[in-house]
Symmetry: C2
Subunit: 137 residues, 2 copies
DNA sequence: CTTAATAGGGTTAAAATAGTCCTATTTAAC
DNA sequence: GTTAAATAGGACTATTTTAACCCTATTAAG
């Protein structure tokens, strides 16, 4: 429950790396994987997802690599989650459709949706920058 | 990412049921499973977890069943998550131990922990009662 | 003493996650 | 222009987690 996937962790870590050790240059997946100790191939997939979402930008070819695609102040946890995991689908109404009139299944969908919105709002309000600052400060 | 498990969903739904349709009596797992359309056996496991956590109380034997173990105002989403899924372990530092000096792995653990605390605080602040009220109101 | 319920261990099936492998494309350097 | 180092991405496999099922014990009402 509410555990982040490893791919999300890789992405989060990589963004932090780019924002702290990758300023003014492009960083290869190999460097990040070596430094951090992640699987290069798998981190590569995460970077591709981040690139598609505009969070990272890439340079192809020799001397290529990744840099941030936008200011770190503008990257939220929700952005990274969306880029890597796709739309969060917290709600999975297990109630059979034909029972919907019997019990308050719409209430159910309703309040679990409310919960989802609360979590989503929190993630959207949390930038990577702010997380880094909280640790340092 | 951040998707609730079915068991958690079952538990949440059951607590709501007890709080709305189970007042002043005990409700069997069979009744809840039939009404809501869940697997009886699996819901039973969820109820056992809720009972161990004090969220539900049980009566054994014929005419037995479940009722709420505490006031619905006092049951939070975090309580149900903890009862059913165990301690939330959002953080799973994938960084190899011997790399910890090289990169800011403690920062990493630090800020993902900060994120964890934020989510936990939200779930703890959210009672089932408040969710139900938000929908109705 | 039979029946309807919770309690719970153990096993299996299905789904999601994590990781690997291979190939194509891009581009700097020689 | 050939080579080498990098991203891009499709396809596959292994592992882990989740969901579900089966079976037996225990409890208590009638």
């Amino acid at each position: 429950m509410l555990q982040v996937s490893r791919k999300f962790e890789y992405g989060l870590h990589a963004v932090t790396y780019l924002a702290t050790k990758g300023l003014g240059r492009v960083v290869t997946v190999k460097e990040m994987a070596d430094e951090i100790g992640f699987s290069q191939e798998f981190l590569s997939k995460a970077m591709q997802s981040l690139k598609r979402a505009g969070i990272a930008a890439s340079v192809q070819g020799v001397k290529g690599g990744y840099r941030l695609g936008k200011a770190i102040e503008e990257v939220t946890v929700a952005d990274i989650a969306l880029a890597i995991e796709g739309k969060p689908h917290l709600v999975r109404c297990g109630v059979k459709a034909d029972r919907c009139e019997i019990f308050s299944s719409c209430h159910h969908r309703g309040y679990i949706n409310t919960l989802q919105h609360k979590i989503q709002a929190l993630l959207t309000a949390t930038t990577i920058h702010s997380l880094l600052k909280e640790i340092e400060g």
